[in-house]
Amino acid sequence: MWEASALTITVFLPLVGAALITLIPKAKEEAAKPVALGVSLLAFLLSLAILAGYYLGPPGGEGLAYQLRVDWIPVIDASYHVAIDGISLPLFVLSYLLTFLCAVYTFHHLEEPGRPKAFLSLMLLLQTGMAGTFVAFDLVLFFVFWELVLVPMYFMIGIWGGPRREYAAVKFFLYTLFGSVFMLVAFIALYFAGPGTFDIVALQQAGAAGEFGLTFQRLAFLGIFLGLAVKVPMWPFHTWLPDAHTEAPTVGSVLLAGILLKMGTYGFVRIALPILPDAAVEYAPIIGALAVIAILYGALCCLAQTDLKRLIAFSSVGHMGFVMLGIATLTPVGVNAAIFGMIAHGIITGMLFFAVGSIKERYHSRAIADIGGGVLQTMPRMGAVLTFVAIASLGLPPLPGFWGEVVALYAAFNPAEALVDAGFLTFFRVLMVLGAIGTVLTAGYFLNMLQKVTMGTAPARWREADLSDVSAIEWGAWSPLLVMTVAIGLVPVLVFGITDPAVSAVLTALGA
């Protein structure tokens, strides 16, 4: 019973929580916080139970676990098909962890205009969308969850965001939607070109069996690529990201960076590559090139930023570039690196946004110039946290960012056989070299940021302002992430061990 219903319960529990929260009378609005905390904690524990169950053997062990397939719209053979495997499991659990920590964080701070009831119910709704995307094994269902995150995030940015929140929110929504409608069209095309189902497993088998013609694959891949690339975001579809991140409230930024971006890269691994393997081989050089451009370009843009949140937003562009580079190699090593990179980026950048959000809350400004340095003086612990996370983000080994990057580079050096046969070996090796150059630029802008923010002597007004250092609640929300940063970095098998078998299984269509 638990095996069949575990995912459903875990995915929809936050939705129930959101409904519960809306029932809280307005006068007792603060009560929303403990409720949200309880729900998200419970959901997180459930996700851990799923993780434990996956580890400990049946059901599944390897391959798909916790499967449930119920017909939904029989006319088009769309089903409610949920399952989980090693690719989605880390992301799935991470989404619950981050949401839970966000719920903790709201006890510390919630941006104007407050209204925890609305905020938290949106956050829980978002959680359902995020988690659902990672367990959906039906294209229609996947798309539903995929789109489900748009509305809550739109309101999160639009209501609780910074000065240009409305612009940023609309931009986020429409940009993402623009890509995803084409993806939907491509999904439907898969239905008609393939075995007449939206089931991902069946479509993967069809893809592996070569049921899709090359011309069709090219078109369908293009549609899916548009949807996913905007979400990742890949250069040059990234322009929504800085605005959304910059304006979003702290919790929104954390979830956006931590989970939402991963939905795009996850889609490549889950859908685009296995179902359309031939097109994947054709597109891989393009994706790889765009990824490397993103790495270098994101870093260069970071160097020019004067706004702390914007800087971190652009850093995401670069980090996701490494993830995409790993995926573009079409090898198990590359995809493993990509998933590792997603997890690493989710934890580290999530934590960065927490820290920067808290700094912004205290300084009432995101501008680096307004902060004027010396955070280590005014708030030693905050400065230390920021330094640590920034260093983690620039890919210092053995922290998690390093594994994602260097293994992706390795994969780029040895791309898939199919790419080698197509004559792209040297091309990918050049990409590897360029990607490696990106690492030094990344270090450059983060150190530049640290120098201007944490080091030096604080301006007098801030020294006298008596800023409060990291609060107990903040420690509560952050320490799991800090611990995980170290733990996953030191013991990368925590992630690689889960992903590796699943990745190999998924990439069989590519002959890997």
Binding site: V140, L148, V151, F155, L174, L177
Partner: protein, 496 residues
């Protein structure tokens, strides 16, 4: 078929229509004996009539047999029943949102409910009509009460003007339609839909006949407000009483589509390779123009009016992929239209219901009146957001199912036109969300003007409608198989 057959009457088959007819006459009669505020009690009578009719529809559905009356001119099958059920449900909600509105205006309540029921009588005839004459009668029965209802706010210049434009457009289209029908009759020698189809598939395509089919399609194009036959719609919607606008935007439009479905999928199906591409162009024009024009609207009703024009464009997409003789594809296209219409009905009436509720406080109906609604009336605001997002086609709402159905059939066709249409719908979806989100933004993110207006009190009937439709909008997403399955059951395709 001879004259004897043509005069055979199956009363059970006609029972829903008779119930509505009876209720409409009863309303007219009883209103004479009521005075002052008590006149509002005709509303429950109308509601009762609708419920009774609905009961008959259910009974006919349980009965299951295909029935006919007046020969084969009036047929009761799954298709007809599906539409009748839908129309009656719409009627119920339109009556519910009318109650407060008209009891506060206090004019012409008896006439209004009579006309409304008469119009719905016409609609119920529409899907059963399998004869050009019958179709024409049904269409006029929907239209003519509409002309009057649109002008019911007699002392409102806008209402007058809207009624006039509606009327002129209506009769012109009717004339064009009739001219087309007369030529079709002349070439085929019959007025039954199946007969026309049989004759068309047997004979040569004649330019004059093709032009005539176009005239017919144009006549329905007016009803569904497809570009370039849409001009009346925004002005009339804006001028008419809002419940009437809801009626026009949903029920009347759906009736137009019901007729168009029969004409195109049944009668003119052999000529599909000619008219389908034309409808494709019309669909793209309609959705694009509707959405782009809606972008800059500041009047909420006008915004919804253009939005409904755009939605007509989406509904036209499945028409555009019809191919003569491809029964499987045509059946899918047919059911896509039904799915879209049913979904559209739920969410659009809901949106209008909210507009009615807010219009009591803000008769100007400006979008800016909605500022701070999220604070003042969170329930209404949530419902409005739900309807708008659903209209935008975002899951997990029924609007997504509708869009999915349209995309599905466009891709299924696999033709260049199909892909172009899919792309057009995709881009238009994005455009449409600009203005849907604009409203949502005003509702949630803008501060209410000082002094803050009173919270909106929708009242029981309206509150029930808004809440009920919001639930339906969500539920029909989860229960999409019911919706889609029903639509699939109700497909009406020319045999062969």
């Amino acid at each position: 078929m001879d004259v004897d057959q043509a005069t055979q009457i199956d009363l059970f088959a006609l029972a829903p229509e008779l119930a509505v007819l009876g209720a409409s006459l009863l309303v007219l009669l009883i209103e004479l004996f009521l005075h002052g505020p008590r006149k509002r009690f005709v509303n429950p009578i109308a509601v009762l009539g609708v419920l009774v009719a609905f009961g008959f529809v259910v009974a006919l559905w349980l009965d299951g047999a295909q029935r006919s009356s007046f020969g084969q001119m009036f047929v009761v099958d799954d298709y007809a029943l599906a539409f009748k059920g839908f129309f009656l449900a719409v009627a119920l909600f339109v009556l519910l949102i009318s109650y407060r509105y008209f009891s506060e205006i206090r004019t012409f309540q008896g006439e209004y409910y009579f006309l409304m029921l008469a119009a719905f009588l016409g609609m119920m005839l529409m899907p059963s009509a399998r004869d050009l004459v019958m179709l024409f009668i049904a269409l006029e029965l929907v239209s003519v009460p509409g002309f009057i209802m649109a002008g019911l706010r007699k002392f409102d210049l806008r209402s007058n003007e809207g009624a006039m434009k509606f009327f002129l457009f209506g009769v012109l289209s009717a004339a064009v339609l009739l001219f087309g029908l007369s030529i079709v009759y002349g070439f085929t020698g019959t007025t039954t839909l199946e007969g026309v189809a049989a004759s068309l598939s047997a004979g040569e395509a004649n330019p004059l006949l093709l032009a005539a089919t176009l005239f017919v399609i144009a006549g329905f194009g007016f009803k569904v407000s497809a570009v370039p036959f849409h001009f009346w719609a925004p002005d009339t919607y804006e001028g008419a009483p809002i419940p009437v606008t809801a009626f026009l935007a949903v029920a009347s439009k759906a009736a137009g589509f019901a007729g168009l479905l029969q004409v195109t999928f049944v009668a003119f199906e052999p000529l599909a390779d000619v008219w389908a591409p034309v409808l494709g162009v019309v669909a793209i024009l309609t959705m694009t123009l509707g959405n782009l024009t809606a972008l800059t609207q500041t009047n909420m009703v006008r915004l919804l009016a253009y939005s409904s024009v755009a939605h007509a464009g989406y509904v036209l997409v499945p028409f555009a992929v019809v191919q003569p003789g491809d029964a499987a594809l045509n059946a899918d296209a047919f059911s896509a239209v039904l799915v879209y219409l049913f979904a559209y009905g739920a969410m659009n009436i809901g949106a209008f219901a909210v507009v009615i509720a807010v219009a009591r406080r803000h008769p100007g109906r400006r979008v800016s009146d909605y500022a701070g609604l999220g604070q003042r009336s969170p329930g209404l605001a949530v419902a409005l957001t739900t309807f708008l997002v659903s209209l935008g086609g975002i899951p997990p709402l029924v609007g997504f199912v509708a869009k999915l159905a349209v995309f599905f059939v466009a891709v299924e066709a696999g033709t260049t036109l199909g892909i172009v249409l899919a792309a057009a719908v995709a881009i238009n979806t994005v455009i449409s969300l600009v203005y849907y989100l604009r409203v949502a933004r005003v509702v949630w993110m803008e501060e209410a003007p000082e002094p803050e207006p009173e919270p909106v009190q929708p009242g029981l009937a309206l509150g029930f409608t808004v809440g009920g439709l919001a639930v339906v909008t969500v539920a029909l997403f989860v229960l999409a198989p019911l919706l889609w399955g029903a639509a699939d059951q109700a497909v009406l395709i020319a045999s062969g």
